[in-house]
């Protein structure tokens, strides 16, 4: 009898002793009292200190972009901590450039609030909201890309610029993934995304294997510096591969609706015919909207494809079709190696680096 009871007692008393120690420490040592978060010198939020900046901001409905759920592995949650943030931590340095550090940029998920903190957050981030949505349509675009339509429930409308992205909150987790909006801004009560299945991917796997029409999903947004510069009058070159189609489609449909007088050439790179999508839609726009030209190119067409269009890397096709002209700006979206190669062609064709906008997927 005693042989059983004594170990249990020992175990429980030591464990509870430690638990009490931690609880007391948590109450008296890890509590920092009331701290103020001062945002852009005008908004003030009072919080009970001790937790990370990111969690307080999200609690207060400021939806900072964050893909990793605050683990310090995505580097999206950057903001300026002008005062009260302490020294830059080793977990942050991999994500901060020298320029960032000079500008007092920090990762919100790594900075703990221990006293009053002064923050600089860009206005468009402050405007980002969380949306409750219901899945309206799920359909296959290609063998590995699905188009998903979300109907906004609360709030019912979103404002964004063509080319920006939203974040998809993976249900039951604190993780988010970025997806560019594929619909145009004039459709304010719905959001369309195009999501490619990445083998082993958490979010894309969820979307492709578990998501069903009628499911409730939370999105946050809109975010991003990659959007159509409407004030410019320059001609537009768009280059995309794979899901890079999404933001470019938004830009093209927006320009079509506005009846823009700018000339738009859209180069889309794919491997085989089965990787092409939205072709009919874009061809239809081409017919109605003479300023727009769609040029897809296949890098490895197979004989069944029966392909009589452009063949080869998208950069070769760009070389062939682009004129040398400084009065052009470019929007690129796709995998990093493709972007790098495309930037080289663009600069060689006279496009200035400051007129090239891109999103790396």
């Amino acid at each position: 009898m005693m042989e059983v009871l004594i170990p249990i007692l020992v175990m429980c008393s030591i464990a509870s002793g430690l638990a009490v120690l931690l609880a007391v420490a948590d109450k008296y040592i890890a509590s920092y009292g009331e701290c103020k978060l001062i945002i852009n010198k005008d908004t003030e939020i009072t919080v009970e200190g001790g937790d990370t900046l990111l969690s307080y901001l999200i609690d207060n409905e400021i939806y900072m972009p964050s893909a990793c759920g605050g683990k310090g592995t995505c580097g999206y949650c950057k903001l300026k901590v002008l005062e009260g943030g302490g020294t830059v931590l080793p977990t942050e340095t991999p994500f901060l450039t020298k320029h960032d550090i000079a500008q007092a940029v920090r990762l919100a998920c790594q900075v703990k609030v221990k006293k009053d903190v002064e923050l600089g957050i860009p206005d468009d981030l402050l405007a980002a909201q969380q949306f409750k949505t219901v899945i309206e349509i799920i359909e296959d675009l290609t063998h590995d890309i699905k188009r998903i339509v979300f109907k906004l429930i609360d709030p019912e409308k979103i404002e964004f610029k063509a080319g920006q992205y939203v974040q998809f909150c993976i249900p039951e987790t604190t993780e988010y993934r970025a997806y560019s909006v594929a619909s145009q801004p004039s459709i304010a009560d719905r959001i369309e995304l195009m999501i490619r299945h990445i083998p082993g991917g958490l979010c894309s796997g969820y979307v492709h294997e578990c998501l069903e029409e009628g499911d409730e999903i939370f999105l946050t947004g809109a975010y991003g510096d990659f959007y159509l510069r409407e004030e410019s009058t320059k001609d537009i070159i768009c280059v995309a591969g794979g899901c890079g189609m999404a933001p470019i489609r938004s830009i093209v449909k927006h320009l079509h609706e506005k009846g823009s007088t700018r000339k738009i050439t859209y180069f889309f790179g794919a491997r085989q015919k089965r990787d092409l999508f939205c072709t009919e839609e874009l061809r239809a726009i081409e017919k109605e909207f003479p300023n727009f030209k769609y040029i897809p190119a296949l890098s490895e067409p197979i004989s069944e494809d029966d392909w009589d269009g452009e063949v080869g890397l998208i950069t070769a096709t760009m070389q062939k079709h682009m004129k040398h002209d400084e009065n052009q700006e470019a929007y690129l979206c796709g995998p990093p190696p493709m972007l790098e190669a495309a930037v080289k062609v663009l600069t060689a064709k006279g496009v200035s680096k400051s007129d090239i906008y891109y999103d790396e997927f």
Binding site: I6, I29, P90
Partner: protein, 192 residues
């Protein structure tokens, strides 16, 4: 055994990382550059020493008299986890400078098997209190020595032409093996 001999053994002949291959996850993942390797090393020395100093009395003053020695695995790991949390709160509040160097490493260390290993070895080898503390401190220093040597080598490797499949953890494991072979040269100088 003389304290100095224990200390010497933990550094060279019975290095916890290179002889017992304990604490391998941080050894592989945090050894990319010297600065973080040093931070991790200091944190390991600190936590190893403190946890051994607390686990020793728990074993000999509580578990042995009550004949509940078999609980030591579970209890040691609980004390290590609790202690690391406690130390984290204290440094964060009162020692911000130390927090910058140690802070991010402390939570990683809770699950480091080398820490538990040291507490278990001191019991298996029947060390006295003083011997245990020196053993734990030495093991920490030995681990730090190993990770710093490794990060030095990895810094040089940045310029080396490594086969694609071996970049990162692969080549690190091979180097760890070669370092262990080198450390075997010390074996036999001291018996434990």
């Amino acid at each position: 055994m003389a304290l100095f001999m224990i200390f010497f053994a933990t550094l060279f002949t019975h290095n916890i990382a290179l002889t017992y291959f304990l604490g391998m996850c941080p050894f592989i993942s945090v050894s990319k550059n010297l600065k973080t390797a040093w931070g991790m090393g200091v944190a390991v020395v600190f936590v190893m020493t403190v946890t051994a100093a607390i686990n020793w009395p728990i074993y000999y003053k509580v578990l042995v008299p009550l004949k509940a020695e078999f609980l030591y695995y579970v209890l040691f790991i609980i004390t290590i986890a609790a202690l690391v949390q406690f130390v984290e709160m204290v440094t964060e509040r009162y020692l911000p400078a130390l927090q910058v160097t140690l802070g991010v490493f402390l939570p990683l260390i809770t699950v480091n098997c080398a820490i538990l290993g040291v507490s278990l070895f001191m019991i298996l080898r029947n060390y006295s209190y003083a011997q245990s503390v020196v053993f734990a401190f030495g093991s920490g220093v030995g681990w730090t020595l190993a990770i710093i040597a490794m990060s030095g080598i990895r810094t040089k490797l940045m310029f080396a032409d490594i086969p694609k499949g071996l970049v990162g953890p692969g080549i690190t494991m091979i180097i760890a093996g070669i370092m262990a072979l080198a450390f075997m040269g010390f074996a036999g100088m001291v018996g434990v």
